[in-house]
Amino acid sequence: MSTSRKFPTELKEAKYEIEKHAKEVGLDFFETIFEMLDYREMNEVAAYGGFPVRYPHWRFGMQYEQLSKGYEYGLQKIYEMVINNDPCYAYLLRSNSLVDQKLVMAHVYAHCDFFKNNLWFSKTNRKFLDEMANHATRIREYIDRYGSVVVEEFIVTCLSLEGLIDPHSPFIKRADDNNNEVLKDREEEIVVHRLKAKGYMDQYVNPPEFIREQREKVKAEKERRAEKEKGMIAIDNEKDILEFLIQYAPLENWQRDVISIIREEAYYFAPQKQTKIMNEGWASYWHSKIMTERVLHDSELMDFADHHAGTMGKRPGVINPYKVGMELFRDIEDRWNKGRFGEEYEECKNAADRKRWDKNLGLGRQKIFEVRRVCNDIGFIDEFLTEEFCREHELFVYEYAKAEEVYTISTRDFERIKEKLLFQLTNFGKPVISLRDANHNNAGELFLTHQYSGVNIEKDYAQATLENIRKIWKRPVHLETYEGGNKVSLNCPT
């Protein structure tokens, strides 16, 4: 349905006001366009990952069902959604009160600032709204041509492999970009250099035995090279398995295109997953700052506090990225304002001194802007999570107690918390899978390895995923992993 609606005047005023404040505090963002949606439309858009036009697929229908049910039962409500795009699009829920809308706007501007300035977003396509629509058009075309069931099934197969990308690869410059020579036809004619000679002299100038000898030599050389090249399509531990499949799997062109669409979208969304804590923390830090210091009227204070508290609420068992992110940014600002960093501070073991430590540096603001530019969640946690912070914010590690089939709190030790958090953030909390060999058993079979870090892979899922890779590669696929320290190999077909 079309939403070419008038944006209410009072909201327009709020928008200008907040935009002005956001600029004044130093945020730097793309032009931001707000759209008003009712809850149904909000659920619709959210089901499609924030993009109003995406390719048709039942998984979005599933999302929609869940979101609608959640809303109807009063379990969840989407307040705000924002798309990393230039201009930035953000959606406001119509039924929200004006205070809520202001809060959301302030929140959104900080998100936009983050999108625009964070290093990890620097390689994303800023016209992705259009790109998504293009993807939709292409896939609709394939549906028209090959039938919806065929395309739908192929998409499910690809989605299963959606995580097999290398989130760092946009930043890696490869020497052999566009170098697909391995694929080139190797069947060239063997040419041997001959000395120039008149016809009747030829057999004396270029004796046949010598020529034959030379030919053998060149041939042997070629064979040796071919031998070396065999199995070379598997680049050393390739993590971007999707790219590999696009390049080398025996696919029809439309299938190749579908995978590349899925891959492109996966890369687009990757930085958002990589910076969930920072992004929400940054946005919460600023909405709180802008609202409380600049925008709020007295009459709005309670509503703001209520909403803000709701967003910041702790739930046992889950880390709230809004809360942890915001507090960590505040902590960093405070530490750099007071000079609580560096060798001198680290080596000070006197608790009282540490508590009193204040060098009046005032570097806090500058520091958090720097952090938002260069870090992703891993760096953010690795660099700035402190023992004091963990204690103050009551972080803990929980484990699954197999016997009782429950999750229990296992430790509040700082090192363990940090380790666990970093583990969860590594590769989006999914096992790192890479391609080691594309010519396994010298029979064109794929050999994948799981970089084992002490946690077993879920076998049923892995098996089903392997099956999906096999469907695309059309040859057997193997995965080497570990189980309780022992090497095991999952094979498909089994």
Binding site: M1, S2, T3, S4, R5, K6, E35, L37, D38, V45, A47, Y48, P56, W58, G61, M62, Y64, E65, Q66, S160, E162, G163, L164, E280, K314, R315, P316, G317, V318, I319, N320, P321, E394, L395, F396, V397, Y398, Y400, K402, V406, Y407, I409, T411, K420, L421, Q424, F428, G429, K430, P431, I433, V455, N456, I457, E458, K459, D460, Y461, A462, N468
Partner: protein
Amino acid sequence: MIIGNAEKDHRRFRDIIKGRIKQDLKKYISHGELIGKRGKDFVSIPIQQIDIPDFRYGHEQTGGVGQGKGNLGGILGPGKSTSGGGAGDQPGRHILEVDITLDELADMLGSELELPRIQPKGRNNIDSEHYKYTGIRQAGPESLRHFKRTFGRALRRQVASDEYDPSNPIIVPVHDDKRYRSRRVIRKPENNAAIFFMMDVSGSMQAEQKDIVRTEAFWIETWIRKNYKNTEIRYIAHDSEAQEVDEEKFYRTKEGGGTMISSAYTLCDRLIGVSFNPEDWNIYCFHFSDGDNLAADNDVCRKILTDSLLRKVNLFCYGEVKAAYGEGMFYKALSTVSDRENLVCSKISSKEGILDSIRQFLGKGK
């Protein structure tokens, strides 16, 4: 900006879900959990969310980082899903509840058990074809415009775009707002059906047996309702005496004492005589017992059946539910009834037997 249509993808998803339910129908049939979730004309069916597989960690080993008070060793909760918050993204099995209409459910049952369509008896054996307006489309003749929906969408659009003026509430639908009814051809025998559920509520019928009866009755009712335009249901509970009760009481009543099945048959016969003329009604009787009847009563039962009941009803079904103390004599007694054309007996030894029993009962297509 144009917002894409989730309706289509949502519908496709629902189709897939229905396929899923159909696949697992056997499981649902033998477990009574559906019945508790029955609304007026739909049931909520819990199904496992359709997962797209990927490489992930086993949930038993992962755990995670949480925030809040609590002692070491404190329990956070059962091995549940804790997905949602960024870093705490644990794999969880989500259960989805899907609403399905009873009609759809009956269709699934019919095709799963390969049930023949019921052939109603008597003179009214004519299918009537009528149209049922079940769907909504975006295109259609103006005469079929769904006023409420169209109005609703127009109102929604106008309110959202600030064109709505409460003091002058004029709603003007544009092309995009319009919705039209779409119809489906329904064939139904232009007939009425009456179902009698009779159950032995004597002491030997335990909760487990009653559960089986309840589940089976649910599916029988769903199927028969599907096949007739009008369906009336009566419940008769009996031990050594019989009385007509409502559904609630039917499954709750617990009596001691002996068992005289003839009491129920006599009452059923009388009720048919009073309210259900066999000329106009297709009558179905389902009787469930553990078969522990008073020995002297068996002959009386046989007599009522052959002399009267079997002549009036489309189908008389006896289901013998295995109980700890039942001897199952009545099943044998009924097998000596001479005219067995519309008498079906079935033994149900456990929940898993429900499916076969339904097939035996309804497989005749009567």
